[in-house]
Amino acid sequence: MADILGVVFRRFASGSVTSDLPFPSSVEGNTLVIGDANISRSVLFLAAVTAATDLGLKVLFFTQTPFQSLPVSLRASVPGLKLESLKNVKFVYVKTLKELVEDVASLHELASEAASPPSLIIVDGLEQYLHGPQGGLLQDDLGPVAHVAALLHDTAAFLTQIQQNRADGQGLCRVMVSFQSECEGSRDSESPDLLLSVLDRYLQVRCTLEKMAGQNEWQVYLSGTCPSLGHQGQQWHMVLQTGGAVEFRPVIIGEQQILNQQDKSRQENERREDGK
């Protein structure tokens, strides 16, 4: 999945949009996206659109909340987008963890007959399925989160095998899950870190979206055990434009230090303004 995210970032990069993007190498990269719910949802949506249109992949998008409007302006970001190519994305609205688990567990039933099984399984806002009866994240029982994450991993591995059996060793199915660790009832407890550590066992790549103070800009960090990331991971800079278009730019290490310094200076200025 880190490879599909790489395609997304290059696809929506400022300054150059290439139509001839090489298909990424076959490396296991199930991905956990962490950040604010809205921006994570936008990144997932972009990944779905990119996979469906540029790469011609079948995508399953599980979410609790139907899309009332596009999370990003695709028309602004992708002027030549043909909406019929979005037919490769199937949105599945599931309300509960039980429904999500049953739907994922049943994917094998159709995969053997389907012309092309899904190559990308997206789960938007996994934390929304993991709330206990009191509303906060499940504190004492790690079983449900481990089960759903392991099931997603195993299902993707099965669908990969199906594709490779049909296509002479080619094809992959990947999983992409977003998780907002800071939600009501969990801010000061250890449970979000514990839940994340469980998810890390089954999702090899972590994509962290960190908002920069005061602007529609985010730092995007890719890290994990995926070999394609290299030792130090990858960093990108994401900007949400006024018209709703999104842009990505790779960050070089020296430039990162300048960005950190600019961010720090901005925060200090804001504190001084608040103190007046």
């Binding site: 039980k98 567990a105 195993d154 066992r201």
Partner: protein, 140 residues
């Protein structure tokens, strides 16, 4: 847990598979290594293997899973591609405390597979869905 320990565990299981396929037994040095790497659950897992407690269930869609009959009579469903077991020991010692690599059920499944000692059972696609979603047991 340290990734190097995981690599050691994987190599150990490969060595065991090779040795067992050639000699039909587990030599003492491999038993000692199993005990060292996996702790007390190694012997418990070997007991489960001896009792033929591991079943590989498969469906017409080619989906597979392991079902392990625990000492308490409870059936645990484990996946073939990653480490997961619904038992309390896995949830506590592996997930919460990160003290153990695995539980006895998962290790029994790995050992049974390496030694070719899994029972085989065919189920329907629908039954497999229920098994994977943690709803039913295959052997009823």
């Amino acid at each position: 847990m340290d990734s190097s320990l995981r690599s050691v565990a994987e190599q150990l299981l490969k060595d065991l598979q090779r040795t067992y396929s050639e000699t039909n037994q587990i030599p003492d040095d491999l038993l000692i290594a199993l005990r060292f790497v996996f702790g007390p659950c190694a012997l418990q897992a070997l007991d489960l293997v001896d009792q033929r407690s591991v079943t590989c269930v498969s469906s017409p869609s080619s989906r597979k899973a392991f079902q392990v009959l625990g000492g308490s009579g409870h059936m645990y469903t484990c996946f073939t591609s990653c480490h997961y077991c619904p038992c309390p020991a896995f949830s506590f010692s592996v997930l919460r405390r990160n003290e153990s690599l695995t539980c006895k059920h998962l290790l029994a499944a790995c050992l049974s597979q390496a030694m070719g000692l899994c029972q085989q059972e065919q189920v329907s696609d629908q039954q497999m869905t229920h098994i994977l979603s943690g709803q039913t047991e295959a052997s009823t």
